[in-house]
């Protein structure tokens, strides 16, 4: 069968406030192929998909679907045309049954406009059998594990009789067996002539299932490669680009001999969330926290900073016991915390860059000793220059900046308080490579100035490159501690994997 292009996107451009999200990106999809869409966080993968599914509107460019030009206006319109999407987050109703979830909005009807429940349940069962899933479809969705739920959402998308199936990070909540099952289904679907766009962070999976791949970087198209003609190393180079040199030039901090302990955490925990975490941090030292999502990294950071209150254990700061119940206490002890979820816990979107940067300094001074607008402005301008925050002026709303710049604003907010202990939870997630390298450089620079840094990241190479020591979390406990300099990724993975069999039914 000759290659039949079912989808062609040409010269797509999308402008967001302050940033060009996509710049002249081309993409095409052949019937019956799995096409991986790759790139770092913030490269524009999701934006491209959202453009195709009518969530975002393109400023320039053309989309040809089955040879005809289309302009998707809403996700519903895209679905009606046969473009189905499964997102990473499960967009289903937890309290409806599995069958209802699959058919909601397009229930088979009996005569007289009554829902045909038998047909719903029967067809749902048949559909799931294709995925090799044998479950009771009349149970509510939340009865089942996240893995099963993800499969149900895929089943729902497939049943829409789609010509194009988009899978946006579908495997992040699946275990190995479930991934294999999903791949089987994908291979089946390929045979029926469906084109599948597959977005993932797991490169092994890309090489296992995809036929072709398109790489994006910073909103630009890097290239289009056949899977069997590119090596993994080469692919990573394409994804990261020339900024790799900058990253490789970074040096981990050197901790002075006999540097004092600034933070000591002993058996700290919250029953059921994270338990018995102990570690210490010296002046000017950087320790990395590695572990899978949900392993207790973020929980530990939040506990140390008082975002959540520990119910056992003790914290010592500068060798004196410290009671930290709320963030205010932590700030009094010269701690700073850049949270993982920037939108939820970090930026005050509608306030200006200036106010956002001044916020913590001001909260420490108290409401009655206000900074004058001039003082705020000077402070903001100082950090805008120092961190290279890309904003037209200090009075721009923070919510309108790009992710990387928002992250820098949060960093500025805390740097302005001259902290001694800095906790960074995934500071480089979801921002472009350039900003990423800058934030790493900054973090190391602060260590050089004597700040102790606790650095949480999912990217092991980043952790290994910067940390003096690496603490590995697993199953809400500390699983091990490794020296940063001499460890390899495999060593960390080893520690993570050792106990993974225990996690089976978690």
């Amino acid at each position: 069968m000759p290659d039949k292009r079912i989808l062609e996107m040409k010269g797509i451009e999308i402008q967001f406030p302050g940033v060009k999200a996509l710049d002249k990106v081309d993409f095409d999809l052949i019937a019956g192929e799995v096409h991986a869409l790759l790139g770092e966080n913030g490269a524009g993968k999701s934006t491209l998909i959202k453009c195709l599914t009518g969530v975002h509107h393109m400023d320039k460019g053309q989309i040809l679907y089955d040879g005809k030009e289309i302009t998707p206006t809403s996700p519903q319109a895209a679905i009606a045309m046969g473009i189905s999407t499964v997102f990473q987050e499960i967009n289903l109703c937890q309290n409806l049954t599995v069958a209802e979830n699959i058919f909601v909005g397009r229930q088979p009807m009996k005569r007289g406009k009554r829902i045909d429940w038998k047909a719903i349940n029967r067809r749902a069962e048949e559909l799931l059998l294709r995925f090799n899933i044998h479950i009771d479809v009349t149970r509510p969705l939340d009865y089942y594990s996240t893995g099963i739920q993800q499969m149900v959402s895929i089943a729902r998308a497939v049943d829409v009789r789609a010509k194009i199936l988009i899978l946006d990070e579908p495997t992040s909540s699946l275990d190995e067996k479930e991934v294999e099952r999903l791949f089987d289904v994908m291979r089946d679907l390929k045979k029926t002539g469906m084109g599948i766009i597959f977005i993932t962070h797991f490169l092994d999976q890309v090489f296992a299932i995809s036929d072709r791949m398109t790489v994006l970087r910073n909103g630009h198209l890097v290239g289009n490669f056949l899977t069997d003609q590119i090596s993994k190393i080469e692919l990573v180079r394409q994804m990261i680009g020339k900024d790799m040199d900058v990253i490789f030039a970074l040096k981990r901090p050197t901790v002075a001999e006999g540097a004092p302990e600034t933070l000591k955490v002993e058996n700290l925990g919250i029953a059921g969330r994270v338990e018995n975490v102990s570690f210490s941090l010296r002046k000017g030292e950087l320790i990395g926290f590695a572990g899978l999502l949900g392993s207790g990294r973020t929980e530990t950071a939040e506990m140390v900073f008082g975002v959540t209150r520990a119910d056992h254990g003790a914290i010592e700061i500068n060798e004196k016991p410290a009671r930290i119940r709320i963030p205010v206490d932590a700030i009094q002890h010269k701690m700073a915390f850049c949270p993982e979820d920037r939108k939820r816990d970090g930026i005050i979107g509608d306030l200006s860059v200036r106010e956002n940067i001044a916020l913590v300094v001001q909260s420490r001074r108290g409401a009655l000793k206000p900074m004058s607008p001039k003082e705020q402005l000077d402070l903001a301008d100082k950090y805008i220059t120092m961190l290279g925050i890309a904003t037209p002026d200090a009075d721009k709303k923070v919510g309108e900046l790009s992710g990387g710049n928002q992250q820098k604003v949060i960093l500025a907010r805390w740097m302005a308080t001259q902290p001694e202990i800095l906790i960074l939870d995934e500071p480089t997630r979801g921002i472009d490579v350039g900003a990423k390298a800058e934030i790493q450089r900054l973090m190391l620079e602060l260590c050089g100035q004597g700040v102790s840094v606790l650095f949480i990241s999912s990217e092991l190479d980043e952790i290994l490159r910067c940390s003096n020591r690496v603490i590995v979390m697993r199953d809400r406990c500390k699983a091990g501690e490794l020296p940063g300099e001499t460890s390899r990724q495999e060593d960390i993975l080893q520690v993570i994997a050792e106990g993974s069999s225990l996690e089976e039914d978690a």
């Binding site: 205010v328 949270p339 816990d345 509608d350 306030l351």
Partner: protein, 357 residues
């Protein structure tokens, strides 16, 4: 340069449209009856008179409450108890002035409690009830609507208990001065409103309190992580609103010269909320504008005055009011502002001007 920038932002804001709406209503008045705008000076009272003065005077009760409500709404809350507190404040004041009617059966120019204590206790009890709201919401995490609904109902009950369910009247001159007196040719309520407006502006803009309120209103989680004591901020906002309801209650009671637990402050919570919303503060919290709130309250009063002045049939007044409010709110709505903004931008571009942004 700084003020210039703010000015241009104000021009694009909802407040502009509130002002335009107000001007349009006044324009209609001007066309129908130019004498609406007459202002005269009466030597015997030393006060200015006229419909415009009247609008300002009569809007005081709502404006004062709405200034507190602005903070509450900026914190993504609501306070339904303000009307009840107006009744409570009046009841308390009358109780203190007359204590027991059987001893002093006739209303006269007297009070058995010094004026200072009358005001202090009446305001104190409202501040106390306001802080009860604050405590329920900030400390115990109750939904603002539910928490303040408690006092909305119970407040009038307390007012009834204080006065044994009786209506008392006073002609005590010092108390009447609150509503009838004048300073600088202006009725006292206007003066009180201006003073409170200035105090609130100082509180929110000359301290960091305003920024903290906005910050907590926009993103409570992030504010907490940034070391803001959000419960304290929320608590303070409800306390202030309670206190200001008390002030409003004193003005009202002074105006009618009696306590009226059943009718005093009826629907004030709705008018106050409406004033805040017309003033450009979003019900979902965040940025707020005290000036906007004042304008919103004046609009509401203008509409009421308009209705009375032009003799709209009594049974139609409510509907008529609602109609105008709808028009104002639609004028301010996102699509309309966007549409008008676009037209302005297009014109600017056509003139070779710079894009507004």
């Amino acid at each position: 340069m700084k003020t210039k920038f703010d000015f241009s932002r104000i021009m694009k804001s909802k407040i502009t449209w509130a002002v335009i709406a107000e001007l349009m209503i006044l324009l209609v008045c001007l066309i129908i009856r130019p004498e609406f705008f007459q202002i005269s000076y009466q030597e015997s009272t030393g006060m200015l008179y006229g419909s415009l003065i009247d609008i300002l005077n009569r809007s005081s009760e709502i404006t004062i409450i709405a200034l507190g409500m602005t903070l509450v709404i900026a914190l993504a809350g609501t306070d339904l108890s303000v009307g009840a507190l107006v009744a409570l404040s009046g009841a308390m004041a009358l109780k203190l002035m007359r204590w027991d009617m059987s001893e002093f059966p006739t209303a006269g120019d007297y009070s058995i409690t010094p004026m200072f204590w009358v005001i202090l206790v009446a305001l104190g009890i409202c501040a106390l009830f306001g802080s009860f709201n604050g405590l329920m919401i900030a400390r115990f995490g109750m939904q603002p609507i539910i928490a303040t609904l408690v006092l909305m109902v119970a407040g009038r009950g307390v007012a009834q208990i204080i006065t044994n369910g009786r209506q008392m009247t006073t002609n005590f001159a010092a108390f009447k001065f609150i509503s009838q007196g004048s300073v600088l040719f202006l009725p006292m309520p206007i003066i009180i409103t201006v003073v409170i407006f200035i105090l609130m502006s100082l509180l929110t803009r000359k301290t960091a309190f305003g920024m903290f309120v906005e910050s907590v209103g926009i993103n409570p989680n992030a504010s907490r992580v940034s070391g803001l004591r959000s419960s304290l901020i929320i608590f303070t906002a409800y306390l202030i609103t309670g206190l200001l309801s008390g002030v409003s209650g004193l003005i009202y009671a002074s105006r009618i010269g009696q306590n009226d637990s059943n009718n005093a402050g009826i629907n004030y919570e709705l008018d106050a909320i409406l004033a805040v919303v017309i003033g450009g503060t979003s019900m979902s919290g965040g940025k707020f504008s005290l000036t906007g709130t004042v304008i919103g309250s004046i609009i509401i009063r203008t509409i009421i005055t308009f209705v009375y002045y032009f003799g709209v049939a009594a049974e139609a007044t409510m509907v008529f009011r609602a109609l105008i409010v709808v028009v104002v709110i639609v004028l301010q709505s996102e699509p309309v502002r966007e549409f008008m903004g676009k037209r302005r931008t297009m014109r600017k571009v056509a003139m070779g001007g710079e894009l507004h942004g």
